[in-house]
């Protein structure tokens, strides 16, 4: 027997749909695959619709959606095996001398595609990924990232510093063709 039910989606759509592109882009940076990103956004919107009554301040809709997406991503990631984080302990500036920067950057642009840089991003734990995505993709300030992720501003700063350092290190190493891992440190216990 068919059932009839009143659905009030108009308000939900007005409030949430303008953020679909933002959600899709965050999901794409997390997952690296357009289809996975679309699925992640769908799951996010599904949960958001179910929990719409929990959104207290409409002005915070974007960060609320982001947190839902992030928790979905983390749930999926938890099911996957933990990846090692690669760190040889050296800084990325050690081989730069006064004559080399332009040459190296040109080399990056020809060697490091956008996908390659995004792959490097996905090598690091989510707690460093999220601040980096919001910082580089959304040009957010430390304060805004702190509000989005609900963590202290000092934590944002240190996570950004560590995340950037890791990415720059890895890009430098890959471009120079020396992507040999000298030391593998498991995620657990690192950057607590």
């Amino acid at each position: 027997m068919p059932k009839l039910r009143r659905v009030d989606k108009k308000h939900f759509k007005e409030l949430t749909y303008p953020h679909l592109e933002f959600l899709y882009n965050v999901a794409l940076k997390y997952s690296g695959k357009p289809y996975d990103a679309e699925d992640l956004v769908q799951e996010t919107m599904y949960t958001a619709f179910r929990k719409f009554s929990q959104l207290r301040e409409e002005s915070k809709c974007r960060s609320w959606l982001f947190m839902i997406l992030r928790s979905h991503f983390l749930k999926e990631k938890r099911q996957a095996s933990k990846r090692p984080i690669l760190d040889d302990g050296d800084g990325y500036l050690k081989n730069v001398n006064s004559g080399s920067p332009n040459e190296l950057v040109e080399k990056y642009e020809s060697k490091m595609s956008k996908e390659e840089v995004q792959r490097v991003l996905r090598l690091i734990p989510e707690k460093f990924q999220s601040p980096l995505i919001l910082y580089y993709m959304e040009d957010m300030t430390y304060q805004e990232i702190s509000e989005y992720l609900d963590i202290p501003i000092g934590t944002v700063m240190s996570r950004l510093a560590r995340g950037k350092k890791y990415m720059k290190n890895e890009i430098t190493r890959r471009t120079k063709g020396t992507s040999v891992v000298k030391k593998i440190i498991p995620i657990t216990g690192l950057w607590a």
Partner: protein, 228 residues
């Protein structure tokens, strides 16, 4: 500040005090090697920034989200109101039985319209469409809605394929066929006076039968029913 301190500052800029930046930049002006490191770091930053820039969202995504929300609305109502639904069903059956003893059947209910619309949507062939342009829809009936008013009710991004007149049980409807990517959508336009129910002007209703979902809403004196 010496070169080692400069490198340390540059690699960990986010956690250093802003006041150290002046010192560091002053040092870079006097040291070619550190100046090169600074430029190199800025270029790396630009590279990451460009790689993580926003991309365009697939145009089909909002449609997919729509579909998943529609599906959920119907599914959720089944779960949350299971007992209430069962009770309502018993009451409804008794009520329908009692009413049927007193009144003879007349105008179709929303369930009738939904049921016939689902059958029509799944069975008919697009080759029998009479009108192929939305401007010519007035050839099918005396509509008081303007072309723009009708268009505003159709799903965004869909294209008009054609329209025809079709019977939905006891009443006649204008059946519009639309395409959105690979989806075929049917929108039925029925006069509210021809039906045995009334809808709130701002409400949107769904009716689920099997795997098919029909959405109903009202515009002026007309009811729209959409499937697909």
């Amino acid at each position: 500040m010496d070169c080692q301190q400069f490198s340390n500052w540059l690699e960990n800029r986010d956690i250093h005090d802003v006041s150290e930046a002046d010192n560091a930049l002053r040092h870079a002006q006097t040291c070619k090697e550190c100046q090169a490191k600074l430029r190199y770091d800025e270029e790396l930053d630009k590279l990451i920034h460009n790689a993580l820039a926003k991309e365009q969202m697939p145009s089909s995504l909002s449609g997919r989200v729509d579909l998943s929300l529609d599906g959920m609305s119907a599914g959720r109502s089944r779960m949350s109101y299971r007992w209430f639904g069962a009770f309502s069903a018993v009451v409804a059956v008794m009520l329908v039985f009692a009413i049927s003893l007193v009144f003879s059947p007349s105008l179709p209910t929303i369930n009738d319209i939904g049921h016939h619309a689902i059958i029509d949507h799944t069975k008919h062939d697009d080759s029998i469409l009479v009108v192929r342009d939305l401007d010519n829809i007035y050839q099918l009936g005396d509509l008081t809605l303007t072309r723009e008013e009708i268009k505003a009710e159709l799903p965004q991004g869909s294209t008009f394929v054609g329209a025809r007149i079709c019977p939905l049980g006891e009443c006649l409807a204008i059946h519009m066929v639309l395409r959105q990517n690979d989806r075929r959508i049917s929108v039925y336009l029925i006069r509210e006076n021809d039906m045995d129910f009334s809808l709130s002007p701002h409400g949107r209703y769904t009716l689920k039968e099997g795997s098919q979902i029909v959405q109903f809403w009202k515009k002026g004196k007309y009811v729209f029913a959409m499937i697909g």
